[in-house]
Every structure is written in structure tokens, then in C-alpha cells.
């Protein structure tokens, strides 16, 4: 087991080896660099946002975009640009943490399911059952049952997207586990755990990375959808979804509220999807669609 730890930086080496190859792809460079740009903006929101996202200024309400408020103001006179920048923090945080949780459970359940046939039957029936519901609907019901809140939202989104990730990891495990080199290491006396962690997991990573980039994009869309329906991130804390939801009431006289928050969602998700496509091009050229 000691050789499985980061002592020989096994995963780290693997990561850098792939990283170099990734940077040769146009889509990865384009999507990746702009996403890093967005991340920088939301991390330094405090210095970049011109106003406070919660600062109410009733005299200045529902003002169209101008030099003072580049994206206009909402019904409380709050600056939309600042709200969109700060809202990005919540939206991307929800997306990122959900993706992380999906990744962790997806790997664990996927590896178990792919490797052990008996567990496979039970796990996959449950996953199939969960995947039968439209994602947004399942998340909506979960949120309705457990009530609103950022952390509940993260769990709801994670529950919705985990089955898809489990399936992807499982399929890649199934395609690897009967190959000769796995039989060889088994003959050499490797334990199941060692085979899973050292021989199977690294080979499932490609599929996992692609799936997680899609999950990230979908999580951000789900956050927006749920907050839009009023069961996601509770106001006044801004998130892209709830700014959009507020903007809905003023669509005829202040369309800029929903326009700019929706644009932020669109650009981020678009870039993530481009990045995902680029990753697919490199890591799994056969499956491109």
C-alpha cells in the first residue's frame, strides 16, 4: 500500500503528463483561459465590483445601463454589475462543489459497480431509477422537501448528476477490467484495492474528466433554474439564478436585469462546454459528438 500514496507522486506525474497534451488543444486553451478569467473576476469581486451588491438606493431604482451603473440597477436600486459579479461567486461555488461531490461519489460507486458484479446489479438499478426523472424535476422535488438553502441546493444538484457519473465510470471500468494487463497484475498477487486504485482508476480518469466538465456546466444551469423557480439560493444574497428570477417581474420595463445575469450564465456554461469538447477531443477522440 505504501506505493499507492503520493510518495512517488503517481497521480501527480500522470496529471502533468496529460496537462501538457491538453494545452495543445485550441478549445481547451480558449475555454480554459476565459474560465480562469471569470474565476479571477469573482475571486477578487471585492476589488472589481464597483458597488456593494446589497447596497439599496431606492431613488436610483430600475435605471437603465449608464456610465454609473454599467448594467443598470434593479428594483431596489442595487447595481446589477456588482450583483452579477458577486452572484457569480455563489453560482460557480454551487457548481464547483456539486461537481466535486458528484466526482467523489461517481468514482466510488462507479468503481464498485464496475468491479464487483453483485453490487453492480443493485447500484445500477437504483441509478437507473434516479436517472429516469428529468434532472430539474428531481432537484425541484428534493428542494421542496428539504427547504431552500445553498448547501441543500448543492446536495440536490449532486444527487441529480451522480448517477450519470457513476454510469460513465462504470462503463470505463468494465472496458478495462478484463484486459490482459489487469490479469497480469492479478497474477503478480495484487489485491483488489491495489488493482482498482493503481491500474483501473487512472485509466477511467479520462472519461471522468470529460463527464465532470459537463456536470459543472449543467450544475450551473440547474442552480439558475432552481433559483429562478424560487427554491434555490434565497435572496437577498445574489446568485445568477435569483437575479434572473427578480428580473422576470420587470421584463417589460427593465429587461437589463434578466439580460445581464442570464448572459453571465450563458457565457460561463458555453465556455465550460467548449472546454469539455476540447477535453473530449484529446482524451477520448472516438466518442466525439
Amino acid at each position: 500500500m505504501d506505493r499507492l500514496t503520493l510518495k512517488d507522486n503517481f497521480y501527480l506525474k500522470l496529471f502533468f503528463k496529460r496537462w501538457k497534451r491538453l494545452l495543445t488543444n485550441k478549445r481547451v486553451k480558449f475555454g480554459g483561459s476565459l474560465i480562469i478569467g471569470i474565476l479571477i473576476v469573482i475571486i477578487f469581486a471585492k476589488y472589481i465590483a464597483p458597488h456593494s451588491p446589497l447596497e439599496i438606493n431606492i431613488i436610483n431604482r430600475l435605471k437603465p445601463p449608464s456610465l454609473k451603473n454599467i448594467f443598470g440597477t434593479d428594483s431596489f436600486g442595487r447595481d446589477i454589475l456588482s450583483r452579477v459579479i458577486w452572484g457569480g461567486r455563489i453560482s460557480i461555488f454551487v457548481g464547483a462543489v456539486s461537481t466535486l461531490i458528484v466526482g467523489i461519489f461517481g468514482v466510488i460507486l462507479g468503481l464498485i459497480s464496475g468491479f464487483f458484479e453483485k453490487a453492480d446489479k443493485i447500484i445500477m438499478r437504483i441509478m437507473d431509477g434516479m436517472m429516469a426523472f428529468p434532472g430539474i424535476f428531481l432537484a425541484l422535488v428534493i428542494m421542496a422537501v428539504f427547504g431552500p438553502g445553498v448547501y441543500k441546493l448543492i446536495w440536490a444538484i449532486s444527487i441529480v448528476y451522480t448517477p450519470r457519473c457513476v454510469r460513465v465510470v462504470r462503463v470505463s471500468v468494465l472496458s478495462i477490467k478484463n484486459l490482459e494487463y489487469i490479469k497480469a497484475v492479478r497474477c503478480l498477487g495484487s489485491s483488489n484495492l491495489r488493482i482498482i486504485l493503481k491500474d483501473i482508476l487512472p485509466n477511467s480518469l479520462n472519461a471522468l474528466i470529460i463527464q465532470l466538465s459537463i456536470t459543472f456546466a449543467n450544475s450551473i444551469l440547474s442552480e439558475a433554474g432552481l433559483s429562478f423557480l424560487g427554491v434555490g439560493v434565497p435572496p437577498p444574497v445574489p446568485s445568477w439564478g435569483n437575479i434572473l428570477s427578480e428580473g422576470r417581474e420587470y421584463i417589460s420595463n427593465a429587461p437589463w436585469i434578466s439580460f445581464f445575469s442570464g448572459m453571465a450564465i450563458f457565457i460561463t456554461v458555453f465556455l465550460l462546454n467548449i472546454l469539455g469538447d476540447g477535453l473530449r477531443d484529446i482524451l477520448d477522440p472516438k466518442q466525439y459528438f
Binding site: 422537501v145 421584463i251 434578466s258 459528438f289
Partner: protein, 314 residues
């Protein structure tokens, strides 16, 4: 072939059981009890106990589940607390509206997706391909409610040429009905169309590298005959496999789209049920969504078996 079909049907039974369990249990996982969930935070303990008794929520869970399944199989899904109407009836009244919207959106998705995908594949790696695929990624990335709001603003507020609220059945006034349908169906269909375009492109690309396409070219067939008759027919098969997924996305989408455009369909019913804690309707809705998905996949599998003779060997 018949045994294959029967096998598929049997395979879907465990999944339907899981769906039924999820639909049933989700509402029972609510902190407190379903009765407290219905009555809200201001209810007294006595009220909760009384409602629990009335709705037989004080029975042990397995017995409740048994009763619920028994009733569902008889077509009785309980009575909506808010509408004071049997749930089956409430769903039945609205299913036509949702189906009309869903089918209209699928037609739009196909009109957008298939030509775009074929064009991109035939002009691979040209500007046309890049443009078509960027459009497809954009279509997948756009939040349909944001698209809906923007189109409502453009056509409803600025141009004032399309109605942005409500629904008129096709049989009542065809032209008005179509006018009401265009925007919601487009918003609902665009993501699916984008998905179909990507699938069509990749599947066409695979097919046009096959030997029989080269043979057809060598025979001197016109390009149009080769691509439309030989290539597309075969490329279409993998596209059918994503129909189940597209139905799921479309059904999920109706929830938000019906809500925005104020269309009195199932999506609106379920949102209302969720907001008003009408749990028989939530339960029925969950079951309905899951079962439709399984049925769609089953139908797709059977169609696949019928039209693609190669599958029968395994």
C-alpha cells in the same frame, strides 16, 4: 424477436419499482412528517396528528407503500389537497396541453438539429461546420428560461407580434394556437435541437467513412442520393437512441417553460403542487415523469429491434 421484446419489458420492471419507491419515499423523508409538510410551519401538534390520521399517514411505512401501489395500479392516485380534485383527473385534464407543447418542441428540435448536423458533417472542418457546431454548443448552453424571457421581451414588448402568455388548444383556433405555441416550443426545442445536431454530425461522420459509401461513390451515384439515401438512413439509427434522453429533457423543460409562458399544463400543475405542498400531486408527478421516461426508452428499444436487424443476434 418477441422474446427480445419481452426481455426488455421484464428488464424495466426493477427500474419502475425503484421509481415507485423514490416517488413514495421522497415525500416521507421530509423533516417532521408529510402532514407537517402540508400544513406548514404554523400548524399545531393536534392538527398534524389529526391530518395524519385522516390521510392514514400513521400506518407503518411498508403498509402505506402497499396501499399506495395498490391504489395507483387501480388508477387512483389520491385527491389533490389544493384542487380538491382526484389527481388522476387533474393530470388527465392537462396532459393534452403538455403533449402539444412537447411535440411542437420536438418538431422544432428536429427541424433545427438534423439539417444542421448533416450540413456540419458534410462540410467537416470548414467554416460552416465550425459555425454550426458553435451554434449547437450555444444552444446547449443557453438557459431556456433566459431565452424565453429575452424572446418575450423582443416579440411581446418590442415588436408586439406574438402573444407571450397562455395557451389555446389546436382544435379551438388553429392559427391563434400556433401563434401561442411558437415561442414556448422554440425555447423548449432549441437545446434538444442542439443535441440532435451534434449527434447527427458525429453519426454521419462515422457512416460516410464506411466502405459502402465509397462503393456508392464508385458506382457514380449523385452525392445527394449517396448522402440522403445511404448515409443518412444508417446515421439515423444512433440518433434514435437519444430520443429517451431528449424526452426527459423536454419533460423537465416543460416545468419551467409552462411556468414562464403561463401554459396550463402538467409542468404548471407540478410547480403549483410543489409550492403549495400538495403532496399527492407531487407523488403522482414524480411517478408520472419516471414512468414516461421508462416507457419511452422501452418503445425506442423495441423500434430499434424492429428496424435494425443486426441487434437481434446478441
Amino acid at each position: 424477436m418477441l422474446t427480445n421484446i419481452i426481455r426488455r419489458i421484464i428488464f424495466s420492471i426493477p427500474v419502475i419499482i425503484v421509481i415507485a419507491l423514490v416517488s413514495f419515499l421522497l415525500i416521507h423523508m421530509v423533516p417532521g412528517s408529510p402532514a407537517a409538510f402540508i400544513l406548514g410551519t404554523e400548524a399545531t401538534r393536534a392538527q398534524i396528528i389529526q391530518l395524519e390520521h385522516e390521510m392514514r399517514l400513521d400506518l407503518p411505512l411498508p403498509i402505506q407503500f402497499y396501499n399506495w401501489v395498490k391504489n395507483v395500479l387501480r388508477g387512483d392516485m389520491g385527491t389533490s389537497i389544493f384542487l380538491k380534485q382526484p389527481v388522476t383527473e387533474a393530470i388527465f385534464n392537462r396532459i393534452g396541453t403538455t403533449l402539444t407543447l412537447a411535440i411542437a418542441s420536438l418538431i422544432i428540435a428536429i427541424i433545427i438539429g438534423i439539417p444542421l448536423g448533416i450540413l456540419a458533417a458534410l462540410k467537416q472542418d470548414t467554416i460552416i461546420d465550425n459555425f454550426a457546431m458553435s451554434f449547437a454548443i450555444a444552444g446547449m448552453s443557453i438557459a431556456n428560461f433566459w431565452l424565453a424571457l429575452n424572446l418575450m421581451w423582443l416579440f411581446g414588448v418590442k415588436l408586439r407580434c406574438l402573444p407571450v402568455q397562455g395557451f389555446i388548444p389546436l382544435t379551438e383556433n388553429f392559427i391563434q394556437s400556433i401563434k401561442h405555441l411558437v415561442l414556448p416550443a422554440f425555447c423548449l426545442g432549441l437545446p434538444s435541437g442542439a443535441f440532435i445536431a451534434r449527434m447527427t454530425r458525429s453519426s454521419m461522420l462515422e457512416v460516410i467513412r464506411e466502405d459502402y459509401i465509397r462503393t456508392a461513390k464508385a458506382k457514380g451515384l449523385k452525392n445527394r442520393a449517396i448522402y440522403m439515401k445511404h448515409a443518412f438512413k444508417n446515421a439515423f439509427l444512433p440518433i434514435i437512441t437519444i430520443v429517451g434522453m431528449i424526452c426527459s429533457v423536454t419533460l423537465g423543460g416543460t416545468i419551467i417553460i409552462e411556468n414562464i409562458f403561463n401554459i396550463p399544463g402538467l409542468g404548471k400543475l407540478f410547480i403549483m403542487a410543489i409550492q403549495r405542498r400538495d403532496f399527492p400531486v407531487i407523488q403522482a408527478g414524480t411517478l408520472y415523469m419516471g414512468v414516461i421516461f421508462i416507457l419511452m426508452n422501452l418503445i425506442v428499444d423495441i423500434i430499434y429491434l424492429i428496424i435494425d436487424p443486426r441487434i437481434q443476434h446478441n
